[in-house]
Symmetry: D3
Subunit: 252 residues, 6 copies
């Protein structure tokens, strides 16, 4: 199967790192096609930048339509998750969504390490939106920007480790999710220091997509994830327009 | 004060109707500046179309920056609400958000009439996201498209009335929120038939914005609604880019 | 419009202060009629004293019936809120109710500063009763009596400021509600020191009432806020009795 | 031990019936002292009438202070429960509170039969206030006034039976609570017809009070149920004033 | 009435201590029949050991069937509670279940002291399973094994006291539940030091069972606590098999 | 990898069917080792029978220890899930747990079809225990025993189809989970008739286990899923005893 790893940031270097990570966990026969947005923020770290990323991600997914069997949202806000799940006939999962669901299957309540106080509420809103607020025991802030964490992984490891240990020792978390695409790969180094499982969104996302793809579920024909009714649209990206009017991929 | 009534649909006629409605409820001295997106769907009725609308709304709000003191999200999904609240120094409320909070202050649990089964889950997710899920006693679907409802208000009245009465009689709702910008104005006709208060998002939104504006609250300096940190951006609308890098409105 | 500012405490000086505060935020054309109970506690600070205040408030509201268009419960427990909302044909809001709903429209999760450990549970019960428990990120206690806080505002400012900063820095609150009529007016001084919006119940309550009044909603004809059925009553205040039997205000 | 059965209604006949019921379930050595308010509604059926009953109940409990070891709130809204629990050194339980907690120990989720649509929201608010909303599977309305139900028990039995069966068959309730002091005693006749346990508040309340009294718990010295701080009071009932200033019963 | 105090641990000495405690709180006429498992762990302190205890408890309850009128689960995980409630025609309560429900009737939110970090999640899961998660304000860990606590009560008192005071002072708990059969009896010594009521599962459980027994509720005939349908069974304990096929106690 | 498919029922034929189903969805290189209990009920359909199955499952898992890399709980109550997750160093998932988490990643709220009214509460308790109660939109009962459903799949298909359609049309479910090992395989036939994805626990469980195994997470060293402390045990199965005292598999 072919997984479109869709990075909502415009940072090509990060895309490569995320793709390498995904390949580490992909099953035999799974191909990772890594792309990123070419419009928007290098590191999405605000609600406004996320809105821009969301549309850009729809455009990228439309441009590559037909070349993938599943989509991994490779930005830890899980940007555009619901819209892509609606729009596409393939499985779509978000990296944070995937790691939180996985966390529920390895411990009692989990904790989340997030990059900044500014983004903590956004992650909490997403997790509560997944209906998993009752399983969330704590959230700790590293208080560095995604860019800083990405560029100095040694320093990131120390800061993330301190936060993760507090989640275990003070909040009773039985597993720890690392949120933030910029933290990619850190979980392997952190795991050696931590007495509970550490979960990374890319690794979990690849696994969840392979599991969902194997189920061979059909596209919903009703409800909020069914193919949208044809709409009267103006001034939008042609590939995306095509998908919105002909989601089965037929020409217009 | 000047309220930017920001319609996320590209339907100019609807914008006029919404503006007229807003002016009915605006206080003396409140000016309604009504605009709509010029990119996206005529009636936003899918998650994907909403993503497109969200970015378009940020662009419109940026283009008019400096000309308004508050923003009313005049699309019933409350599209881009959080991003605009973060981006702008002024109060921002969503029409459905406003009507649900108002509903909480006039009855015990409330019900919501929504246009279609397809959108019901989206409204429910939003209301739960506002933390108001515990006050929501029921949700009923009219099962017509927004376009149909908008174009045939008499027929809409009948269908909406049937749904609303079921909310009261079967689900014990003590007030009813009409969701859907296409239903604008219908609440006045419906009220005559219904034994509980009927709430419309535009009317409620205008009132909430006037109340918030009167408080004169400062922009948050920390947390998820503070002004975003300057980001490295590419290929985005210049006005929006300016706001993202210089949210105080200074030139770059 | 005429707002009855109904102080459930028997402290006339506080009533004057609350009225002055309300007038600061009232719209042009809004008249504030400030009254307080003449029976009960000078500062209501217990569940028992609140029960006494509740009945006294019903009596005061009955005595002034016909002279107001809306009621602001100007006691931070929101005493008698539901009973007055049921009894009267006009909008009624509680000062804490109003500020919590407003807080939901300016930040993600909010915090509350309360006077004493003794009253913290009461405030929590009320906020959860409004269905807003999921939006409450923290509650901090100043640990002084309402009387002390009221009489020494400088000292109150320092103590409240410490509590409020902890809510922001440790609990991640994105706005702060000040509970306690005795803290009235303090929010303006506190705001200068705090990086997130500070909300005061009187200011919020006035705005919410103006918004609700503008909607022109009818009295519910069914459900728990409809006019009570005539009851067989004995030994109660004549004005209140009249209202309970003839809520439309007709003579008996 | 001596249980003060405190009827918040002013209906003396009902008080007798409730007392007889309580005696059926009281342990050997338990004395039931039944009193009712002499001020307020014959049948409390509104939020306003409940406020009046609450103060009257505090006065009655004060007048009899020293003559009882526990208090059973014998009005199904559990009126004044929290205030009496704060004010008095003895255990206090509400009849609906007691039956809902008991229901949790005999089945999975429970249902509640309530007299009227008008009061349904009040019962729901109370049950959610007890933190038991998650155990409540359904609520059904008989749609008769308390007075009608009380005066025609045969007809009440039929209507209550229909409601109770719907709770079992349609909502999956595994036990049924009868709310409404007017339904007192009906559970015995209903039980013969119903396949799940039927719970009555008076029977449950007596048992819970005996259990709590046996524990010999001390009065809380802090928190919201500690003895209130002495307050400056005016124009209130002398016995109640005495209790509020000297809760240990000492003279002033 | 005869209460079967069923200790899921295989520790006979503990059984004696628990029985003595139960007798302190039992009403006149209540007989305590104390038994323990003869298979499994001396102190059940893991999820796996609990599974073993659960079956052993069913066997013990079957072996003594007919000799008791109610069952008190005298192991603080409330092991096998639901299965015994289903299997037996008598009331069954768990010691932790009973103390948490009692706690709800004496304060606002309660706290729980638990022996070890390892078991904290288990207690939390149980309390949330009872639907009481919203009333739980905090949980503190003593961090000693049940065996250590049981064997050195003086040291246990100090450690438990520290934990309990933190629940009151830092988490605002208005009552404290001691979890852990090994802590039996400690609440009396602790109460002298603590400003809020301290609840012990054995004392509460005895009272709740007496209350439930007095109600004389019939066995449910439908739902998840009705007598199981006869099943095709193999290789199980004969007494238990008999009960599973003939729950009314008739011979097969 | 080798998955131990552990059927908690003693029905060997069902085990074969479940194994065949699992092999349909297993990845290349995944071996399914199917075993069932040899003690307990042919079809576990009560809480008591589940207790017996739980211990039997621990014994079977101990007997086969070392021969598998992951465990799939192949009984739809997810019996012994938490105990096995604690006891074993390998991933363990329950079939219902897996399908509910998967359901969350394909639609908004999901519904569950359950065999009997008797078991509905048990499934609900489990799903709420997973923290997924907020995602559960409805539950419908087929009202046949597991045995009947298993033996007459055509009739089962019809009954299950009716229930599933009601979940979609009346409760707005956007995906449907089939609970009940006896329904195994039915989802493929049902899918053709249903407009939303249908999820089967075996298929989902295999996928989730492969995903978790790929993550290579270490065994927790603290919290409620760490290896149990050595306990003093008596009269238990030797293989299980060995695992409880030496969970790393070393001889004692």
């Amino acid at each position: 199967m072919r997984i479109l790893l869709l990075n909502g940031n415009t940072n090509g270097g990060l895309t490569e790192t995320l793709a390498a990570e995904a390949r580490l966990y992909a099953g035999r026969g799974t191909e990772i096609i890594a792309v990123n947005c070419t419009r928007g923020a290098r590191f999405v770290a605000s609600r406004a930048a996320e809105v821009i990323a969301a549309q850009a991600m729809l455009e990228v997914a439309s441009a590559h339509f037909g070349k993938y069997d599943a989509v991994l949202i490779a930005i830890s806000f899980d940007t555009a998750l619901h819209a892509l799940r609606e729009l596409l006939p393939t499985p779509v999962v978000g990296m944070t969504e995937a790691s939180c669901h996985a966390a529920c299957m390895v411990g009692s309540r989990f904790g989340v390490v997030v990059p900044s106080a500014r983004t903590a509420s956004v992650y909490r809103e997403r997790i509560e939106g997944y209906g998993l607020g009752g399983r969330l025991a704590g959230m700790r802030v590293v208080d560095r920007s995604a860019a800083e964490l990405y560029e100095d992984p040694d320093s990131a490891l120390e800061a993330v480790g301190t936060a993760a240990r507090a989640l275990v020792q003070e909040d009773g978390c039985e597993s720890v999710v690392l949120a933030g695409a910029a933290l990619v790969g850190l979980h392997r180094r952190l795991q050696a220091q931590l007495p509970v499982p550490v979960l990374d969104g890319i690794a979990c996302g690849v696994g969840m997509l392979e599991a969902l793809a194997r189920l061979g579920l059909p596209k919903a024909q009703c409800g909020s994830f069914a193919v949208p009714e044809p709409a009267t649209l103006c001034n939008i990206d042609p590939a995306l327009a095509r998908l919105l009017n002909a989601p089965s991929g037929e020409a217009q």
